[in-house]
Subunit: 622 residues, 2 copies
């Protein structure tokens, strides 16, 4: 590996020396300008509409983050409301919400003077000032409800210590300083009251389609539930549509959150039940209760889904989601995930989802298609892997058979894995060349599964391939993780929302079982260890008995990248399109999409970097 010298810290000699003086003058001017700016902003109240997205950071709602995204500027503007400012706070971003190797904006006070600065934490959690200040303070304002901090951050900075803001999930972290500190370095990050919140920071910039005048609303809400005093509850509530409710199109939906419960309602989904059953029992209680009727498991067709930080969901103007009418169940299931880590007792909640629907059907019915891997144990992840990759294919053969000549348009996507999932991406490939990312989340969390609007429609035509790749971490596991439905088994799925609806409900793959059998044979023969991964036992049992040395790991990876696949090109989970779907060749990719190279723009600021002093008056001491 080629070596690089670390940058020396000595100043440059002669010609650059004069340059430095000029630069220093310049940065002094900038600093003065910034101070004037801060003072100027003290008086101006930020308008709510400037920050359309809002999320509570902590379960008590003491910290409330609002933000907007400027794509022309490639920057996010943040407004942080601190309801009960003590001696400062940390706010920032990190790969998966950890406080080590994090990128932080820090407001701290020694009890008399307050400062704001852009900092980073090292692998031990020790704070350091960034050499370049990329959280740019734009203002601070006291209001009756608390202190508002306004700051700006470019998606990509030139500072290698900074987090790169990308599409998909961003893990926000916060920490509250409860004692005065004399310097940034004195902050002990492990002693803070702290936490994390996941959001999609880079919301797509979508024009809201026009809504019809005959639009009606229906609230699917919990009937004044008492939120259980436990950290995690999935609440299930059954709703029945009126008799003879005709076919409508859902064209929009939005969350209805009971005031005060904003930090407790983590996510909500409305499912439609299976049409083959005439009736479903009523139910109102925890989804994992022994009392819950089994039949509720047949209510799995997603009508609407919302997660914290999400706004209203709008269908594209050409399409709506069909509900009601013949061939569709009258029964709906509302599922609410309450996240109550402070185990509040006796909180009442009537949150839910408000559906906006119309009888004036739009041109197209919207549909949902499942991409990725079949739920089968042949797709497995060895234990102790930090980033093992599995890939599921929707092949050209299937899309050629199932899609209309004019193609379909994907407008939204919901990524899904179980607990080991860390990244998910679906790429569209045509004629062997990757063309477009359908949806990607490099910081995916199984605890944050939103339906996300795509930034632009993705057109998929007959013959196109949709390749879904999931990255898993099994460092904490001691045996192989196989594919399947169980919480400790894995999935790799992208539910894509598209129009016009087709018969194709499932376009997924798994490795050919015959080739997996050859792999187990090879493991038996190649390794010195006398291990029996006999074909008589089940595939999971064979995986559990593989000795996971580097060779067996590598060869499994190679197998998944080489062996032919079994395709599930299905009308429903049980009915395949006609054709030969076994031992299909893996799609070949001759041209990959280029790796995005984030272009940074250096943020001007004083060098060496210095914190910005703030006048917040005397802060409260206990």
């Amino acid at each position: 590996l080629p070596r690089m010298q670390s940058s020396g810290s000595k100043p440059c000699p002669c010609p650059s020396f004069k340059l430095r003086e000029v630069a220093s003058m310049y940065f002094t001017m900038i600093a003065v300008f910034l101070v004037i700016l801060v003072v100027a902003l003290q008086g101006s109240a930020p308008r709510g509409s400037d920050f359309p997205y809002k999320v509570p950071l902590d379960p008590q709602g003491l910290l409330e983050l609002s933000w907007n995204v400027s794509y022309p500027e490639q920057a996010v503007h943040f407004q942080l409301l601190i309801r009960d400012l003590r001696f400062g706070l940390l706010f920032g971003m990190s790969d998966r919400g950890e406080f080590e190797n994090a990128d932080l904006a820090v407001l701290w006070s020694d009890g008399h003077n307050s400062y704001f600065g852009d900092a980073w934490s090292d692998a031990q959690g020790q704070l350091h000032m960034d050499s370049q200040q990329d959280y740019q303070l734009l203002g601070a304002r006291r209001a009756p409800e608390g202190l508002y901090l306004l700051f700006r951050r470019a998606f990509s900075t030139c500072d290698p210590k900074d987090y790169l803001i990308e599409d998909g999930t961003v893990h926000l972290i916060y920490g509250i300083l409860e004692k005065p500190v004399h310097s940034l370095q004195a902050i002990n990050i492990s002693a803070l009251h702290r936490g994390l919140q996941r959001v999609q920071l880079l919301k797509p910039n979508i024009t809201v389609p026009e809504l019809p005048s005959d639009m009606k609303t229906m609230e699917i809400t919990a009937p004044n539930v008492v939120i259980p005093s436990q950290e995690t509850t999935y609440w299930c509530y059954m709703i029945e549509l009126p008799d003879d409710f005709p076919k409508h199109h859902i064209i929009m939906y939005e969350p209805v959150i009971t005031a005060g419960n904003e930090a407790l309602v983590h996510h909500m989904e409305v499912f439609q039940c299976a049409a083959e059953f005439d009736s479903f029992p009523h139910y109102n209680g925890p989804c994992n209760s022994k009392m819950k009727p089994d039949r509720l498991n047949y209510c799995r067709h997603v009508l609407a889904a919302w997660a914290m930080g999400a706004q209203a969901f709008y269908y594209p103007k050409e399409a709506g989601l069909a509900f009601g009418g013949p061939g569709s169940s009258r029964y709906l299931r509302l599922e609410i995930h309450y996240h109550n880590p402070l185990v509040f007792k006796g909180r009442h909640d009537s949150s839910g989802i408000r559906l906006y629907y119309t009888a004036t059907l739009r041109r197209y019915d919207a549909g949902i298609m499942e991409l990725g891997l079949v739920y089968t144990p042949v797709m497995a992840i060895p234990p102790g892997e930090d980033a093992f990759i599995l890939t599921g294919y929707c092949t050209d053969k299937c899309s050629r058979l199932a899609l209309p000549a004019a193609g379909i348009r994907i407008f939204a996507s919901q990524l899904h894995t179980h607990l080991a999932g860390r990244k998910v991406v679906t790429v569209l490939s045509r004629d062997g060349r990757e063309r477009q990312v359908v949806n990607a989340d490099g910081h995916y969390s199984p605890h944050f599964q939103e339906i996300r609007m795509l930034k632009e429609l993705v057109a998929v035509f007959p013959g196109d391939e949709l390749i879904t790749t999931c990255t898993y971490n099994t460092e904490d596991r001691s045996r192989a993780t196989v594919g399947g439905f169980g919480i400790l088994e894995e999935m790799c799925v992208n539910y894509v929302h598209y129009y016009p609806q087709t018969q194709l409900e499932l376009c997924k793959s798994a490795v050919d079982p015959g080739y997996l059998h050859r792999y187990f044979n090879l493991v038996n023969r190649f390794n010195d260890e006398e291990v029996c991964t006999c074909p008589q036992v089940s595939v999971p049992q064979q995986f559990f008995s593989v000795p996971w040395n580097s060779f067996n790991r590598d060869v499994l990876k190679s197998l998944y990248g080489f062996a032919p696949i079994s395709m599930h090109c299905n009308k429903s989970s049980a009915v395949r399109f006609p054709g030969e779907w076994e031992k299909q060749p893996l799609p070949t990719i001759t041209e990959r999409l280029p790796e995005p190279v984030p272009r940074c723009r250096p943020t001007p600021g004083p060098r060496p970097a210095a914190p910005v002093p703030l006048d917040l008056g005397q802060l409260r001491r206990d």
Copy 2:
């Protein structure tokens, strides 16, 4: 893969808007300052000692590059002498000397006005102005011998289009503009008179040791050879030391180049012959001539080596290279590589190497040790690979047996592969943790094999491991490349120069042949193709018959990363240290050296970037 938006080009709204005005004022000031600087430098003659390193770029010597390296500034200062300026020139750097995706400084003239700018070429060879100007023009001066251009370049810039200057080989490229051009974009790079030159730009910053007063010199030079009028000649010339020449220490050597042949003498080596033969025939002629006596092949022990761009080689003050005395051959072989692409005829040459030696022996004899891979076909590279990696090990077991308790000090290194080699690196590992890079060349070329002084001595102790990794490109080959001596076979070697000399001459490895046999079995069994890679035939034959699908490639990689090794822990190429050296475990690495993150410093300059106008007067038109 997570996606990033490309930077928008719209200006920022309000607060930043005022900032832009300030910035604009600032950059105007900088621009004015730079113009003053350019004018000021017109008069000052650059002194030769400011640029200690010099190399001709083209075979005619029309372009001569001198440079110095400032490690505190992390920058290179270049002085380019253009003997016969036409309408400008391109000078730059690229991965392997190609003109596509290159980083270029361009001087161009429309016949009236001249400009200097930092540019880049895209994958099609089209030139574009860099958005950031990192080749900083420091001056231009007319002199009787030609035009001197002075410019500066930081090792690492913040511009992703720029080349990162690292240790090891740098491929410099040049192109001469023979017609006026009206803009940078109008330059047709494929129509230029152009070429490449390889140099080690980042010369180590070494203090020259004190030289003894009894130092003598000996010139080993060609006897007025007529350079053959062909592109490539390896010239061999035998020299005999005086009878009873006692043991001396070579403490320094330097090139002696016949004036006018600077661009033709590519590299030179002095080899000592094997002591077991009493005499060697005299010879003066091409090394590949049928007339060359076979016995000259026993003259392979390197005494001195020089390549274009290298300066004098100094041994560390504690050590010298023994020559003369009993047990050492009196015969030396000088080998000169003439590179004569313009096929000049009748050029006479008496170049060679001047040895500086002393009878006052230094404390330590220096030694040369061979690290890397054994020359055996079991280490092979599949065809069509763009970056296949092979690794050779010097294990803890061998170093424990062969090195003195106080360890050895490596002070220089010569990397060696055959034609497919692209990168070579040796890393020192202790207790399973990588500690230090011994020598690395990420742009290694088999056509540029210098002995390089290390920036710092590397101490190696008993129990340490030295791991040498070579990267090969076989995209132009249709069958496997096996290890061996042939020019189309491969090697992976690092000759390390160290003191005190030990008995260990060779510390190299290869994969265990039994495990390779299992690999060929697996290939036969796993693949559907009926291919016979039978054990009766030779290992190269077995490799040539492997069907190179992705699985067989991947599994070979996995095999090399997993299978035990056969160690050559040898006193000479035939005599092993006592011990069991077969089926040895691969060294395990629990901690890798961190990937270096090049820290850039943004170069201030006008934005959008603009070329710098130069007053060079009227330029010559044919």
